[in-house]
Assembly symmetry: C2
Homo-oligomer: 422 residues x 2
Amino acid sequence: MNDFSQYVELLGRNARKAAFHLARLDGATKVAVLLRIAKAIREGKSALIEANANDLKEASKAGLAPSLVARLILNDKRIAAMADGVEQIAAQTDPVGQVIEGYVRPNGLRITKMRVPLGVILFFYESRPNVTSDAAALCLKSGNAIILRGGKEAFHSNQAIVAIIKTALRDAGVDENAVQFIQTTDRNLIPLILKQDKYIDLVIPRGGESLIRAIVKDSTIPVLKHYTGNCHIYIDAATAGMDEQIRNICVNAKTNYPGGAVCNAVEHLLFHKDVATRLIPQVCADLAKAGVEVRGDAHTRKLYPSAQPTSAADWDTEYLALTISIKVVDSLDEAVAHINEHGSHHTDAILTSDLRAAEQFTRDVDSGSVMVNTSTRFADGGEYGLGAEIGISTDKLHARGPMGATDLTTSKWIVTGNGQCR
Amino acid sequence: MNDFSQYVELLGRNARKAAFHLARLDGATKVAVLLRIAKAIREGKSALIEANANDLKEASKAGLAPSLVARLILNDKRIAAMADGVEQIAAQTDPVGQVIEGYVRPNGLRITKMRVPLGVILFFYESRPNVTSDAAALCLKSGNAIILRGGKEAFHSNQAIVAIIKTALRDAGVDENAVQFIQTTDRNLIPLILKQDKYIDLVIPRGGESLIRAIVKDSTIPVLKHYTGNCHIYIDAATAGMDEQIRNICVNAKTNYPGGAVCNAVEHLLFHKDVATRLIPQVCADLAKAGVEVRGDAHTRKLYPSAQPTSAADWDTEYLALTISIKVVDSLDEAVAHINEHGSHHTDAILTSDLRAAEQFTRDVDSGSVMVNTSTRFADGGEYGLGAEIGISTDKLHARGPMGATDLTTSKWIVTGNGQCR
């Protein structure tokens, strides 16, 4: 373990030094660096595909599930999309230096609250290699150094992407430790790096709940959790004339992402009892036709007998698959209570024509994104207009919901006087 | 320990339920509740003084330091100030419901980012009883439930203040669990309550560094740290004609708070070598005259021989006393590096007439408050115009520097459509 102790300390110290350097860069320099990285990604295509082939070979040897292999693949289109993503981040407004508040106090002190980089970010993520370039670009844009720990399956691909980024940084005269990649997949390193609170300002873990829980437990650094989503759609009593819209939204929210394996897919539908008879048979038939396994409570099964019975565990389950469970509720209050109890505070929607129901739902459901008359699939940084996202925070602190470059900044109070004493 | 397990779970569950209730209150109701609490504090003066007498008796038995006893005392003036504080918080703009951002996407989705209460806050604090009413009022204003854990020395005083608040809450028809007070000073409870992440959204500890470190280590709930301050003033080369201002600011920053026992007092002065000969003798003489023990590096002692020699440990020490240490530096860069290395990222100031030096210092010093030509003692929620403060965050996440009611909120994305699918 001694080696890892020294290694994590080195990663931290290097990152802190790079962060000091990054915080001093002006916006034009950061844009130039990002455009250089995008160009290098396009030009490095064959090296990336070669490294990716190593990962795919190991994945096939290890018998990785086809849906995971699909996420892992780098091809011409995906590499071009990675470069596009970096260019889009380059084109965003620079969050650093923005004045959040500013005023003069009665004693003449000028008070300014200004956005500044957070410093050093430690980022855990899973199998999609494009997350590597997205995360590095978002951190560079916001003036932060990043330490990357990607999924084991994508190790060679991620390593190749970081090598390209580092070359571009060096060529631009920027400290290449702005982007560091942990050169081992050994899990024993994790508890050690999570104690480097002297150097690291924030941990962002994206991945399974058990990984995130382990990180929270071990970390003395603040953690912004990105749990996956147990999302709901509640279909209200006041939905006359909305049948087609409701059918479209429910099917879209479940099936729009291949296999439903995404955090903003809907997992549970709650129907108000007054509309259950009218809507459940049609919505269930649509879902079944789209290849979804439908589960339901007793009331649902009476209206749609092909539904499988739900067990208590269903309501707390994020399927991440083409499975959905359906419950009939007596009231909006019951729907809200169910969602706050069983949901993951990620994204939940109401379908209604009743303004007061919409207002009550958006006020009372304690989730990062609360939607009215649209698909939960829109909970996404790109769809919200943030450019790329580093993840979707299910935390309430600092940032909630889709996180972009601005969420990777903190603020600094700048107080200017001319000799004032207290 | 079994009892504590049940007790902390109960505290958490009660608070979560109260938080749901508080989040639904409109602003006028919250103002009315706060004004009722202020009135009840004024009317409860004799009960408060009686409870406080118990604490003072125990403090005297325990031989508590006079400076701590002084903080503990409740008298007519302090009780009136507590009530005034609650009224000032009542008069603030309600942060809940404020729209931080709002726009329409090309597909017609309306996106709104709105401030909402955080939920449940667990607050650790020390001996001053007025913090109890300030913290409770800030949490009520921002729609949060609070669980209070005050200093052992102020146990009876805090209990009496909370009893008054609870009566006022009940009289106003508000869930009295909005404000809960931990009814034991047993430290074994602490690690257990720090695991109630199901119910508690944020821990704010104010106190000694060792307490805060222990909390960070044990907590699975996000912690906003309020370390005390190791603050600096750097006196730049470009200070011609500023002698009197410099002398006033240095003495004010060190001695304005009785005994210097406050986090925003200055602990270290760094003089640029070009002005050391001119300024060190006068500033040191002023400080000594104000009762300050002056320590200095070799260069300082040559210019002011009565200074005591500094040891390496001095530079990392927050004295919280009438002691100061002085160092001569070769450059602004050296001053910045020293502050970022040895400071606590709380509050640091530069005294200069050079615009570029001021800009470099405010950009490069990595602290919550960075000041130009004024006293570090202004780092305070009241002085920044936030009304009361729940503390001064030395963290970078979520809130940095003095924290008011707005910093006790999070945001929620509200997305409204008319049938959009992805």
